[in-house]
Subunit: 474 residues, 2 copies
């Protein structure tokens, strides 16, 4: 049968997950490789997912009072050097424009790897009084970081993201905003991507170059590795001082603002693929699926079948459901496989006998369960889509929770990450121990765990100052 032939086209998810990922993203036409090494083309099926991510996040940002803007992509090289840690972190991976308009430039220009510097410069021009604060702007744009090893969505030299930047009067407000945005991201991951995340502060070693504190959210991929799905950064006055973001305060004195920033990128698409995918390919969360429902006509040349599928499609669309009607010349079996691989949450099969009986066969992509519904029962399909989203989240959450183990020794930590787990472990707070874990177990500190307390450092055995989640990571 075609189904088995078809599945063979994708590498086995359990034994060769990296190849499964590559097969899936290419064969479902989410993405293709660009002509320049390390670049990707986001194809319509992938871009549609990004559009849903954008519109959902954008709505949330605007509700919080954030305004969109657009800042230039080219940043004077000298800006990067104004914040000492920042230049150290980003200089090695920037792309540099040295020539333009047929001539060599006086100062090389950096293609933004992130925009704290240029936005800091502009905020410095705009902010005058405490009445101008908080100033909260966001941009949706492309950024570039020259990476050695690249993979579509996960790590590419150019990617799309949003970066939000805010200035507050006080450090307390800016820190609260950093945590508030982390919570916004985690809620988005839960309710829109159906993807559970662990959230928390990052260690000094893992923090953003130039930040006082970085907070991240970590999602567990199918292979048990962690993927950093988004970060928020509290900058203190570091960038405000570097770029002169000063304001006249309530008492009439001139003071520096406190800034924070936050970003998520097209990486989220890689995250949801590797969280939900299965042996047959993609399993897309309904809220971001380009099509929530695909209708496959059975015996479509028989009188009345195509008409009935069109009526059904219109009824579903009227209820706000995104529908694909596949009335191509391919066989139903071919279509089942194609749309299963492409991860459409619900497939509806409709043939002459169904129509006669006033029924339709409704198939869930996530569980592969089938059930007969009354033909045209739009409300039941809507409800099913919600159920699918909730179930996808619950399964992913149960899976992640079942794969959190604790370790008191480096050996146990190594065994944990090799087994595809997140490992909770104590840490003395010394960078040397954090480095040692990486060397010994190829695992990094993902986020602080504020909910548990481990007694001793997993590396040196001294009293633990913090409890961390360690994992191998993308």
């Amino acid at each position: 049968m075609a189904k088995n032939e078809f599945v063979k086209e994708i590498a086995d998810i359990e034994t060769d997950f990296p190849q499964w990922y590559t097969d899936v993203v290419l064969k479902t036409k989410l993405v293709d490789y660009g002509p320049v090494k390390g670049t990707m083309v986001i194809r319509p099926y992938g871009y549609a997912i990004w559009e849903h991510i954008q519109s959902e996040l954008d709505r949330r940002f605007k509700q919080m009072g954030v305004e969109n803007a657009y800042f230039p992509m080219l940043i004077p090289m000298s800006f990067l050097t104004k914040e000492a840690e920042h230049v150290e972190g980003f200089a090695p991976e920037v792309a540099v424009v040295t020539h333009a308009g047929g001539a060599k430039l006086e100062e090389p220009l950096v293609v933004r790897p992130t925009s704290e510097t240029i936005i800091g410069h502009m905020f410095g021009k705009w902010v005058e009084s405490w009445r101008d604060l908080p100033l909260r702007q966001n941009q949706w744009c492309n950024v570039m970081r020259w990476e050695k090893t690249t993979r579509p969505f996960l790590r590419t030299s150019e990617f799309l993201w949003q970066e939000g930047h805010s200035v507050y009067e006080t450090g307390e407000e800016a820190e609260a905003a950093t945590l508030q945005m982390l919570a916004c991201y985690a809620d988005f991951c839960k309710n829109v991507l159906c993807m559970p995340v662990l959230t928390g502060r990052k260690t000094e070693k893992e923090k953003f170059a130039g930040a006082v504190a970085t907070y991240g959210m970590e999602a567990m991929m199918h292979d048990g590795k962690s993927l950093q799905a988004g970060t928020t950064h509290y900058m203190g006055q570091n960038f405000a001082k570097a770029f002169g973001v000063q304001f006249t305060g309530r008492e009439g004195t001139l003071q520096y603002g406190y800034t924070m920033s936050y970003g998520v990128s097209t990486r989220l698409i890689g995250a949801l693929i590797m969280t939900h995918g299965d042996a047959r390919g993609l399993v897309l969360p309904p809220p971001v699926a380009p099509f929530e429902v695909v209708i496959v006509p059975i015996a479509q040349k028989k009188e009345g079948v195509l008409e009935a599928t069109h009526v059904l499609k219109e009824a579903l669309e009227k209820a706000g459901i995104r529908v694909k009607l596949d009335d191509s010349d391919n066989s139903p079996g071919w279509k089942f496989n194609e749309w299963e691989m492409k991860g459409v949450p619900v497939r509806i099969e409709l043939g002459p006998r169904d129509i006669e009986a006033g029924k339709m066969l409704v198939c869930r992509r996530d569980t592969l369960e089938k059930a007969e519904y009354a033909l045209g029962d739009v409300e039941a399909v809507s409800a099913l889509l919600e159920t699918i989203g909730r179930d996808m989240y619950s399964r992913a959450k149960a899976r992640m929770e079942s794969r959190i183990v604790e370790a008191d020794t480096l050996e146990a930590l190594l065994a944990g990450v090799e087994g595809g787990n997140f490992v909770r472990a104590g840490w003395c707070g010394e960078r040397a121990c954090e480095d040692k874990v990486k060397e010994f177990a190829q695992a990094t500190a993902r986020v602080f765990d504020e909910t548990h307390t481990m007694g001793t450092c997993v590396c040196c055995g001294k009293k633990a100052a913090h409890t961390l989640f360690f994992a191998r990571a993308y």
Copy 2:
């Protein structure tokens, strides 16, 4: 009175239009200069206009079957040279990345000035059969063209735009699509920007580098100069041959596709400012205005006033109207001036006496007319916004039509463009005559006029092969 003081801050629109433009775009916080010469920052008030332009156009494209995608920004230098005219046109103004990741690149990479080449390359990979056609993709992105003289929105080294690219089986289909998209653009300008345009083909001299034919739409600015507001290009097989966009046709033979492309940019924001603006500043078309209505409370500290303005705001928002309630500490006079300069289509004043009388004072920005409406009459406000849009279009159209003159001689053409007109004139078809017009009158051929026939060439006096609109242009 504050009003007069305030207007003084903007240069006089009649005597110093360039300075008026600069004053208006900066003081209304639409835009600011970026740190690199020739770049702009689009501030929230300007970006909100762009978001409305995007969402309206995007909806139209999707209805036509166009899909969004994203292609890499960096293009190998060698791609540009594959289409001979294309490289000649764009090479002088590209920005070039020569270094990345701390090393010199083997091949310099061009920051896209437009994406025909890289999209042609990808389409060449994807297209196999006539069943894959038409292939219609669009991207919203930034592009870069290193310009010598720049002005915010009108001409900047980096700008935002959409570029659509399509492949068809036949030249007839591709040409028809080129004209269809031109009509889509013109309809958008009319109904969304309230801006009339002249549409038509461009001369060889003015066409896109690499196209068989370019079509443009030209709008008349306040000073009578023309602004190219958007273009569509029929490429024939030029790019298909350069990038191997081949498919197996219906008869089983391998053939090259026919391509077309189309784009509009943030330049449209400049166009609508210079079409509708007046001595007091911006006059924004309701469909793209960040706020369609501003509510200014009068004697806002009096009991019940702020409450009443909040109730009104909610009622208007419920009807889908974008509303700003200015309850800041500034005086009503200051607010009137501020929001007039910012071009909000409708201002509603609401004070204790209005509330008592169950009325509100409604002021049109375009005509400065005021009228009393029943308090909370949302439908009347909605209707007024539609009327304002229609009236803005009618006035701009009448003005443009009254400023189209005909010329038989170079002297008459010069007098016409100096008087701030579009000049209809005959042309023999020789490039030498087109060049001469430019030299003599600093005017260029904007588009062919298919509706009128002028007998002789405005330059050489020979029989005219075409009738053209000439104008000075931005």
